[in-house]
Symmetry: C2
Subunit: 256 residues, 2 copies
């Protein structure tokens, strides 16, 4: 089995190392990941400058590594289309330090790496540890490897990826349950903090507090809040078919 | 009416100027756009460095302008939440030089600016001129203004944006028809071109030729190929509800 591993925290992050180690038992692992943290890049790609791929060696490991001066999406594209010897059997992105839940998945570099896998017709999984402090990725990595085994056996629908969030109630502890969930919805309050620089010119930091506006029990947000693993199948088929019929009645030809 | 205009070609691009000019008749226009071209950024946002907003004056215009050192999504977020006096009635993104069709919308900065509007509960439209050469945006800008008039009158579903592509059969000419379409699907062949730098080290340019793998007559791709305007309603509700029921039968608790 040929496995492509990527992330958005950068190739030297502890989360991707734990993931690589857990997956090496199951096949040949190629790690193609950003040379530095590239969070919240969405599905951004690099088209106005060239990409570099610097080889990285992992001590005591036979996995191959490439550090890329680009986004997670660049890494997966370049990995599949230029660096790997064959098309991989699966793309696994992560393990992200911090959750990727609800609306946030649209901004997530971790999820975008998996989406890029799917766009390249490779089954893909994004994995996040829903904690900002706990850097014990051991359990999450074992979970990811177990899921990879199932997914490569059963297969996924052609354009569907799995977004996995593993909660941390106590650092290193095992969650009691796995739920298949739908995405909740989150927004941020007081997103921008305005400051003045030493020359009196204003600038803004993006931040804000999470506001979960859709977090019913069957959502990813609620599952993680309960301390249970969340697995959400995502499909980026974004045509609004329902509204298509309504807007057809607007007679847009009148604008011409 | 308060109108927020953004784009991904940068605040000094001809497309956004044409759009601003056409929209000034209908309301107060704020242009909040990247300080330089930021194509293919997806829904990337800037969280690791602060954002600046430099005021820009447009000669002979009462519109307010802000050039932002960030992505299209940053611009719309900062515009709505920090720079505009009130919540805008509509976000209009564009006019992009070049089409945004099919799968490409997931990478598009133009579409992402409109998506950011929708995430902030503002009706939003993305407009692209489906040409790489013709920089006569006059007709496309008038079309966009006409659509804004209809949309602000009739309203859009809460989370739906409109993605508009205006074809160019002859530069400056008027298309014969408007179609409400669904997204087609496109991929790129030979995406990466490998080169050697003067020191013999390899690097890759992203490029490739478009391959339309789903371009049935009711798609945006086919509409633009026929020389007809394409209006696609997009909804970024990306949970794969259909697959949820199937994967529930996998018994993922066995992994724990």
């Amino acid at each position: 089995m040929l496995i492509l591993v990527s992330n958005d925290d950068g190739i030297h992050a502890p989360g991707i190392n734990a993931l690589r180690t857990a997956l090496e038992k199951y096949g040949d692992v190629y790690v193609v990941a950003p040379d530095r943290p590239r969070s919240a890049t969405g599905l951004g790609i690099t088209i106005h400058k060239p990409l570099r791929a610097d080889e990285i060696n992992f001590p005591g490991s036979s996995a191959k590594g490439f550090a890329i001066n680009g986004t997670p999406s660049d890494c997966v594209k370049l990995g599949i289309q230029a660096l790997l010897p064959n098309k991989p059997d699966i793309v696994v992105s992560g393990i992200n330090l911090g959750p990727n839940l609800g609306t946030d998945v649209l901004y997530s570099g971790t999820v975008s790496a998996a989406l890029e896998g799917v766009i390249n017709d490779v089954p893909s999984i994004a994995v996040s540890l829903a904690s900002w402090e706990c850097t014990d990725f051991g359990y999450a990595a074992d979970f990811a490897a177990g899921l990879v085994k199932i997914v490569t056996g059963k297969g996924l629908p052609e354009e569907t990826l799995l977004n996995v969030n593993i909660p941390v109630t106590k650092c290193g502890s095992k969650p009691p349950k796995v739920n298949v969930t739908r995405l909740g919805k989150r927004r941020y309050e007081n997103t921008f903090e305005k400051r003045l620089d030493p020359r009196g010119k204003s600038y803004w930091w993006m931040g804000g507090e999470v506001m979960d506006i859709q977090a019913e029990p069957d959502t990813d947000i609620a599952s993680v809040k309960r301390g249970e693993v969340s697995v959400t199948p995502l499909l980026f088929d974004v045509t609004d078919h329902k509204f298509m019929d309504l807007i057809k009645e607007w007679d847009l030809n009148q604008i011409l």
